[in-house]
Amino acid sequence: MIEFIDVYKIYENGTKALKGINLKIDEGEFVFVRGASGAGKSTLVKLLLHEEKPSAGEVIVNGYYVSKMTRQEVPYLRRTMGVVFQDFRLIPNMTAFENVAFAMRATGARRRDIRRRVPYVLGLVGLAGKARSHPSQLSGGEQQRVSLARALVNNPSIIVADEPTGNIDPNLTFEVMEMLDEINRRGTTIVMVTHDTTIVERYAYHRIVTIDGGEIAEDLPGSNV
């Protein structure tokens, strides 16, 4: 469960990225977050991850109070989430396989499990043949899919995806969406930031939150409940 209570985020240079966000996302929901460039969508994601702390207000994720966490707790908060970053954030000197495997290893997974699970997840995103490539040897869309595979690999209870289809073609986008939809049906909460109106229209039965200038402009509830 994710809850934003009156959250403000003002960056050091004075940019007011979020201005009083109140948002509650229940377990098992699928939420689209959309909004203009610079509206504050990625900032929202950064707060969930404790990458940035709220300037005011509180963010609660899976029971963790993000603004009051100790350094030791942060990794455990992050393990409850799988995140697809807008800028991918792949480790440059690890291969695709190693990048995904690292996320498993960090949670203490066994080698045997890693060797079984990682190729499966890479296969899911259509990258079985690119396991040994380094990020610099992958196309933009391929890097994005490695990032997606990493988000999926630990079977997290929340998946946060920041623009996960910005660099992939319509057919693949459709496949990825179907996959996320299926994962959501099995109970995983999904928060997806996207600009792609085609997607949002197609999956309009999910909840759609629109952010504008750091505020929630619209919150269309989903219709599939």
Partner: protein, 293 residues
Amino acid sequence: MERIRYFFGEALRSIWKNRMMSMASIGVLAVCLILLGSSLIVSYNISNVIRQIEGQNQIMVFLNDDLDAAGIENVGDEITALPDVKECIFVSKQEALDEQKKALGSNADLLSGYDADNFLPNGYRISLTGMEHFSQTVQSLEKIPGIIKIQQHEDVADKLNNIKRIISMVGIWLFVILALVSLFIISNTIKLAMFVRKREINIMKFVGATDWFIRWPFVFEGMLIGLIASLLAFGVQYYIYRIPLARVMTDLKLQELTLGSTNIALLLAAFVCAGIIVGVCGSLISVRKYLKV
């Protein structure tokens, strides 16, 4: 167990992947160790040489002719009882004259008439254990009754002492400076290496790795780099030490210049410890900054 294997493997992998950086760190650390080691060996050898020279430094005292055999012996005992006196050899009037004759060489017969009527006094030739307290010793000698004259190469003694003082001063300063350089260089090398990995560490934290999970491979890496550097440094040090110093040694016929095998073992142990400690500390300190995400 599996974790340790993983961390160790990661360390090896990282050393290999960042070859350039690893080699830089190893090189810098090794060079610093060699510098420290060299300054140790050099100062050890220089004080050996000085000790040797000191061993040959002597004071000559002359005795009052009025003293009888017992009185002479008394003075000898008093001299021997002084601290810093290593040896005290009696030189009789006759011996002194013989030495004078020898000094005159072929003109020795000039002195032949004086064998019976020897005008030279009896004396003691004194060797000291060290020169640090040279002037106190001379003062003490002056207070012994029966000694009429003290002949010493005070100038040479002073100069040797000065050289030694300068060398140890230089040694201390060199050591201090080198130690600072080592720390500075290594911490900077590791910091720069970390800076390069900043993004990597960042990303690791974002996928839920704990601080220690990230830290361990770096600790192993620091350890390995320290170990390799220290072994390399020891090898080079041994070679440097053997080749040119062996030549100097044979040149000077100074057998004392060798380090004993225990000293060599000590040096190796010191190198390995220093290397590993610096490596690990360097890693830990440097990683710390980038873990704050």
